[in-house]
């Protein structure tokens, strides 16, 4: 990868253009040079003095690909303005900010983070689950506040081994969660859009039944129209007073208001949450609870994951512009 100055003023006629509406979080952390290549150049909308609509109209015919992230969604309206786009690259595992159906209709390929986030995502899920079961953050606060000295031993937690874990979404991340928790002696079951033939974990087509048979649910699935508020009052009730929930998917998969009510009223035992419906605003009641662990949407925010993602983004773009197979295409299932 070359270090190149991508300057709007001298756009090489022969280098195809990749549209960036806003810098992606990964690019903001690693720097643009990490994404550069001699096969394409970036067209940065935010650097232009033109209003967005005019900017897009001006460059419409030369934009063949879009690199996007949650802050810059790819809508049908946007695609309407850019008839030459054939590829959308998501700098994330999630693709809920991309109108996938519009892309499909228009014959536009989409790529995502593939498996580069799977290890870190799984580690975060296990870390959050462990924290709520064994009260790690709460006990750490207890020590730091001098309460171990003043009040004596901390309360008992709950053993991880032997717990029945229901994984919601057995994709790349979900599979890695399962592998790790098995080593702790947990019993794994799952719900997914379709049963996976290559695993022997019990499959539940009904998420309420999975919740009823689980001590903890771990949400690892994508946010789609089908999964929006999939974890609702019924599911939480089935999970029950002794049940825990961990969410490293998207906030909107859970009915957040209902979740907060259940936590406050003791209808579920606890929650570990990396994502929320309206980040970074989170329900005030959660801040007061001892039986929740809160994380600011950084399940995959490690240098290793970010570097791997940058390589994958470059790889996908280079493959595309070389007419080679994409590395991590989003398949329509």
């Amino acid at each position: 990868m070359e270090n190149k100055d991508h300057n709007q003023n001298h756009q090489s006629e022969d280098l195809p253009q990749v549209l960036l509406l806003k810098p992606t979080p990964v690019m903001a952390v690693l720097g643009e040079h990490q994404f550069s290549s001699n096969k394409y150049q970036f067209l940065k909308a935010w650097e232009s003095p033109l209003p967005l609509y005019q900017f897009l109209t001006k460059y419409a015919n030369s934009i063949q690909a879009i690199l996007c992230s949650g802050a810059a969604p790819v809508t049908d309206d946007l695609l309407q303005l850019l008839p030459s786009v054939r590829l959308v690259v998501a700098a994330s595992a999630g693709t809920n900010h991309i109108d996938l159906m519009a892309c499909c209709r228009r014959g536009i390929s989409v790529t995502n983070a593939g498996n580069v986030f799977s290890d870190d995502g799984a580690d975060a899920a296990v870390g959050l689950l462990f924290d709520i079961l064994r009260k790690i953050s709460a006990a750490d606060r207890y020590v730091r506040q001098g309460l171990w000295v003043k009040k004596g031993d901390y309360a008992l937690g709950s053993k991880l081994g032997g717990k029945r874990i229901g994984i919601v979404g057995l994709g790349g991340i979900g599979l890695q969660v399962a592998k790790r928790l098995e080593a702790f002696g947990c019993i794994i079951s799952y719900n997914s859009r379709k049963k996976k033939t290559f695993v022997s974990y019990p499959f539940y087509s009904n998420i309420c039944e999975l919740a009823a048979d689980s001590d903890a649910l771990i949400i690892c699935c994508a946010l789609t129209d089908q999964t929006r508020h999939m974890i609702n009052k019924e599911v939480l009730s089935a999970l029950g007073k002794e049940g825990f929930i961990v969410n490293i998917g998207r906030g909107a998969i859970i009915d957040e208001k209902e979740l907060v009510r259940c936590l406050v009223e003791g209808e579920i035992a606890g929650a570990g949450l990396d994502v929320f419906e309206k980040e970074p605003d989170i329900p005030k009641q959660l801040l007061e609870l001892e039986n929740v662990v809160l994380s600011p949407h950084k399940a995959v925010f490690t240098p290793e994951s970010f570097l791997a993602l940058s390589e994958l983004v470059v790889g996908n773009l280079e493959a595309f512009f070389s007419n080679l197979p994409l590395l991590s295409p989003v398949m329509d299932e």
Binding site: P25, V29, D119, D120, A122, D123, A124, V126, G127, L128, F130, D131, R134, K135, I136, S137, A139, D140, R141, Y142, V143, R144, G146, W148, V149, G152, D153, Y154, L156, G157, S158, K159, L160, G161, G162, K179, R180, E182, A183, F184, G185, E279, P280, D281, I282, L287, V293, L294, S295, P296, K298, F301, T302, P303, E304, S305, F306
Partner: protein, 313 residues
Amino acid sequence: MDTIGVLMTCPMYSYLEQELDARFNLFKLWQHSSKVDFLKTNQHKIKAIVGNTKIGADAELIDALPELEIVATFSVGLDKIDLRKCKEKGIRVTNTPDVLTDDVADLAIGLILGVLRNICACDGYVRSGKWKDADFELTTKFSGKSVGILGLGRIGAAIAKRAEAFGCSISYHSRSQKPNSNYKYFSNVIDLAKNCQILVVACALTEETQHIINQEVIDALGPKGVLINIGRGAHVDERELVSALLEGRLGGAGLDVYENEPEAPEQLLGLGNVVLLPHVGSDTIETSNAMADLVIANLEAHFDNKPLLTPVI
């Protein structure tokens, strides 16, 4: 058996207390302001001690109880029991191995995740409202890192098995090399520390392992290294650990034990690269119950003249 006197050394678990009370003539050492007087009065009644990691059975206590037959500790660690004296006097000793192996091994991994992925610091960050202003910085990946285990006993082996599921490479140092192990063996702690990114203390506390984690070892582990202690506070030269963390010579630490419990070093209380737990290694309801049942079972076996379940001596 309710005439048999059993001395509990300190409050440890209410379920255990209740069960002992139901079966034996239970004496609670902490309820007597003058321990000396209490022991003198009751010395001939007490045939068993139930101790733990805070107060066990030292020479003084053993000598004060001429009818003592058995010490059943509510722990796997034996460092608070004068084993030599017990052996001399033919006193049996039991502990609670195996039933707590999972919880303690789980905790070691939990501490690693807590330190590397800053889970506790992140939780504090969100609670304080800081997320609205800025994103938390990157944390460090755990999967695939190299883990060094000091002491490959039951707990050490369980930690290794869990770390392997995270794709970690495992190395260890133990009193002796384990013939059936595929993990890389180092004959001394410093080499182990030099060759791993995360060092976990999982060995027993003996005279040899006091302050086994000293300045040399900490320096070998280095500014990107992380120390996890689920053994005993005395395994680590705590003063040296604190200065290494403050000076950035050590990357981070996850501690469940300290030299002077319940006091954790004050200088650590404000650090973001440590996780500090109040000795909760086996503190789950499930395991505490299993440990209590094992203590009771050992005592009953002894007084029924049956083989002890988990004898040490």
